[in-house]
């Protein structure tokens, strides 16, 4: 059973965490994710959860506490944004390489400077090579749903990797939307209890986690991590299938929106996907063959799915809400082009950096962008990458 409600993305994720009732949450407040630990504190004070809430003194400590708790055998979670995530970077690698299935509610926010509290993907893109599974949410419903699936993915024996569930700061985290909330019972049945095979507090077996590894071992341990991340593809598909059976809401690695016969398309992640869909609907209404591919999962990277989705696309806009400062585009641009190479070649691509520091990406912006893609399709010269929505 489920009920219709209205919630912000933060409240939706906090509701998921209440239903999950993890053993340990260690978190430090930072805008725009602050509400999540705030809600959790009130759940705890009101006796709705029996989670151990650790009010740490920094995000570095938050992730360290999660690592300790997870190694001990607990289901551990945290929430953060922006500079808070950047302060965790060192530990994110430790969590992933120690194969600890920690789950993070990430609320995407720009990194300084100039100092800014609004949405872009610079924070989690900085962690893209840390070994965490990354799932991006378009709206509050997806943030809630992705959070309910996160532990099943993270704790699967073939995976055992941490997962961050991302949503866009303020746009998703603070805007109140209609949402379907599942009942506690079925959710808890779906997630199940966590019984790790190896854990530090097991009195029957001595265990050391995170040892020093000399060069004769280090690379084999990294190869194991590669295997786990690659195995996550099938696990994500399986968990999403089970979730669809429970809720009727079906999620893939990517979502293809009106890609049938599309000649012009954009690849986009996060809240802008919803805006892009509205633009695609308008354009289709006036006969433009426009489509959209939304990445739900960025790690592992859905390279084959992206190439397969291209069909008859002739001009493609790859949308980065982050500039990697390679001076040749953003991280999604580089990886999406890599996915097409050798699989779906001959498509003209433009990599757009957009929406930095909370800059609006409106339906009209997508329409202008699709108009440029049409000119590129028809032979117009274009830069390989450019900023969209910036004052010249």
């Amino acid at each position: 059973m489920s009920r219709n409600d209205r919630m912000s993305g933060n409240e939706a994720v906090a509701t998921a965490i209440r239903q999950i009732n993890p053993d340990v949450i260690a978190a430090f407040p930072i805008t725009p994710s602050t509400e999540i630990p705030q809600y959790i504190s009130s759940f705890k004070a009101n006796g709705l959860i029996d989670t151990e809430f650790v009010a740490v003194e920094s995000e570095h400590s938050a992730m360290s506490a999660c690592i300790g708790a997870s190694a001990a055998g607990a289901r551990a979670m945290t929430a953060t944004s922006s500079a808070g995530m950047a302060l965790m970077y060192e530990l994110l690698y430790v969590a992933a390489s120690d194969r600890l299935p920690i789950v993070m509610a990430a609320v995407n926010r720009a990194l300084s400077g100039p100092i800014n509290i609004n949405a872009d993907h610079s924070d989690s893109m900085g962690a893209r090579d840390s070994g965490w599974i990354q799932i991006y949410s378009e709206n509050a419903q997806e943030a809630y749903d992705n959070m309910l699936m996160a532990h099943r993915i993270a704790e699967h024996p073939d995976v055992m990797l941490p997962v961050m569930v991302c949503q866009d700061g303020f746009i998703t985290s603070h805007a109140v939307e209609n949402i379907v909330i599942e009942d506690d019972g079925p959710v808890r049945g779906f997630i199940g209890s966590y019984s790790p095979e190896k854990y530090l507090l097991n009195p029957a077996e001595s265990l050391g986690v995170g040892p020093y590894s000399v060069s004769v071992y280090y690379m084999e341990i990294k190869r194991q991590q590669f295997e786990a991340m690659n195995s996550a593809r099938a696990v994500i598909a399986g968990v999403s299938e089970d979730f669809a059976a429970m809720t009727g809401r079906d999620y893939g690695m990517i979502e293809k929106y009106r890609m049938e016969g599309a000649e012009l398309a954009v690849i986009v992640m996060g809240s802008a996907a919803g805006t892009g869909k509205a633009a695609v609907d308008r354009l289709r209404g006036s006969g433009v063959k426009a489509g959209l591919v939304k990445l739900r999962v960025f790690r592992p990277f859905p390279d084959a799915e992206i190439a397969e989705a291209m069909g008859g696309v002739r001009a493609l806009g790859i949308m980065d809400r982050c500039d990697g400062f390679s001076a040749c585009g953003g991280p999604l641009g580089a990886e999406a082009r890599g996915a097409l190479y050798g699989r779906a070649e001959g498509i003209k691509t433009v990599n757009y950096v957009y929406g930095l520091g909370g800059r609006d990406m409106r339906v009209e912006d997508f329409e202008a962008l699709f108009a440029e893609l049409a000119r590129v399709r028809d032979g117009a010269e274009s830069l390989r990458c450019r900023y969209h929505g910036v004052r010249e």
Binding site: G210, P211, Y217
Partner: protein, 109 residues
């Protein structure tokens, strides 16, 4: 070597493939520092003068590597496979029964 310690070492060899090594290099069993010969790091070595030693036992608790064995209430000779030559024992000995020698110094003198 106890059974646990033997199991601990099994499979963890430089020939083992990535599938054979424990996940994330997790280490099972305890006391594995015994297999790590920190004595190789030594640049100075302690010498114990059993004649001067009064068996006060101030030295063994300060040894960071448990390299001063104690049996029947008396200390014995150093475990040179694990002694890193830090010299803390020589510093705490009230009777001058422990002296430190820098490696290579013996030949020079």
């Amino acid at each position: 070597m106890s059974a646990t310690r033997r199991n601990l070492m099994e499979g963890m060899t430089p020939d083992a493939g990535w599938r054979e090594l424990s996940p994330a290099a997790q280490v099972f069993g305890e006391g594995n520092s015994l297999f790590f010969n920190t004595g190789e790091w030594r640049t100075e070595s302690p010498a114990w003068d059993a004649e001067r030693c009064r068996q006060c036992l101030l030295c063994f608790p300060v040894c960071p590597d448990s390299s001063i064995p104690v049996a029947g209430g008396k200390r014995g000779g150093f475990d040179m496979e694990h002694c890193k030559g830090c010299g803390v024992c020589a510093r705490v000995c009230p009777f001058g029964a422990i002296s430190m020698t820098e490696h290579g110094r013996e030949a020079a003198e």
